[in-house]
């Protein structure tokens, strides 16, 4: 009996100490981890879709609450006036969640670009949706997307052999476009 109690006490102690140490380190590093994701994953995508902006896109990020959801906005400015906005949305891909960063021209209500963020698509197959030949097709599309039964909106050719990944991009884009009117209102 004494032995059983000793085992339980020692194991409980070890787990408690380890848990406390980890939660401490997590709270110390949490802020820096968010920042690292921002400059290493989201940052380059934002710079790309809002090319031509004159302000520091990352430093001037802001977060707004739309329909109870917190969304991080990147506003591109020219001559100190906002001309475009970009934000992330996600959808289920073939191997897990797929996020996209979409930029919008606030005057023309057109897409300034689309980039794929974190994803787990199959290397060499679904991962082709992350490459320029696919993503650059979205540039200049009207926000009024038209679908005629294919996996992607009119004007965009899906990647053959990667229908699920192509559809995931379209799904995330639909969500993104649906948010656009409210976000435009918030920015202007």
């Amino acid at each position: 009996m004494k032995q059983v109690i000793q085992m339980a006490v020692v194991l409980t102690l070890i787990c408690t100490i380890c848990g406390a140490a980890l939660s401490g380190i997590r709270s110390i590093t949490a802020e820096r981890i968010v920042y690292q994701r921002l400059i290493n994953v989201q940052g380059p995508n934002v710079e790309d879709v809002l090319k031509g902006s004159e302000n520091d896109l990352i430093a001037e990020r802001e977060s707004v609450e739309i329909d109870g959801e917190e969304i991080l906005l990147f506003v591109g400015k020219k001559n100190d006036r906002p001309w475009a906005v970009a934000y992330e949305t996600s959808a289920a891909g073939f191997g897990g969640e797929l996020t996209i960063m979409v930029g919008y021209d606030l005057e023309k209500d057109k897409l300034t670009g689309l980039k794929i963020g974190t994803n787990s698509e199959t290397a060499g197959v679904g991962s082709r949706v992350t490459q320029d030949p696919f993503t650059k097709q979205f540039k200049g599309l009207d926000i009024d997307l038209k679908f005629t039964g294919g996996p992607c909106p009119v004007g965009v050719d899906a990647i053959s052999g990667a229908t699920v990944s192509s559809m995931a991009v379209s799904e995330a884009l639909k969500k993104s476009v649906a948010l656009y009117p409210k976000i435009k209102e918030a920015v202007l």
């Binding site: 020692v10 194991l11 140490a21 997590r26 690292q36 994701r37």
Partner: protein, 196 residues
């Protein structure tokens, strides 16, 4: 002298991947480039040294029946720390290593040293043992990573090493190249040690 031997044995006599053939899974996976090999190695040195120190200092308190469970909790905690730190301060390497950082938990070198050495020896000897084995492992990762990077991409730590007309031997950067170069290194190591 005795303590020094605990440190130096990890560098040749008990060199983890080549002499005792442990920890091969990560050595195949993360040695596409020398840099990722080095990053992985540093993570392993940290986890191995810290877990050896903690385990040897509690070796007399922890009951024998639950020792493995206790060791794993301690090792997993240090691995999670490595994951958080690499994410916070070395994000590009974290992205390249991916799943192989959390998988350090199941690296058999670490539990192996905990069970075979740290749970039976003093704190200082265990620390030196962890440092030595970890350093030997890091050197092996960097060596294999350098060979594969030089032949597979013509660079080492991202710096151009080969003449201008050099055509990269991409086979070496892929999985089969890892098996072939590891096999050749093992063979060379065996031949050398048999002679001496």
């Amino acid at each position: 002298m005795g303590l020094m031997r605990e440190f130096t044995k990890g560098l040749w006599k008990d060199l983890a991947p080549f002499r005792v053939v442990l920890g091969l899974c990560p050595i195949l996976a993360v040695t596409k480039e020398a840099e990722t090999g080095l990053g992985m190695g540093i993570g392993v040195i940290f986890v191995l040294t810290c877990s050896n120190v903690i385990i040897s200092s509690i070796r007399n308190i922890i009951p024998r029946q639950v020792r493995i469970a206790g060791f794993i909790v301690i090792i997993a905690s240090f691995v999670t720390m490595v994951e958080l730190f690499s994410q916070a301060y070395f994000y590009p390497i974290y992205q390249k290593l991916g799943i192989f950082i959390p998988l350090i938990v199941v690296n058999c070198i670490i539990l192996g040293r905990a069970e075979a050495f740290a749970s039976r020896n003093g704190v200082i000897a265990s620390a030196l043992d962890g440092l030595g084995i970890g350093l030997g492992y890091t050197m092996s990762l960097v060596l294999l990573g350098s060979i594969r990077e030089i032949l597979g991409a013509g660079t080492i730590f991202g710096v151009d090493m080969m003449w201008a007309s050099f055509r990269p031997f991409t086979f070496m950067a892929e999985a089969p190249g890892a098996f072939v170069s590891l096999g050749l290194l093992l063979g060379i190591m065996n031949a050398v040690s048999r002679k001496s």
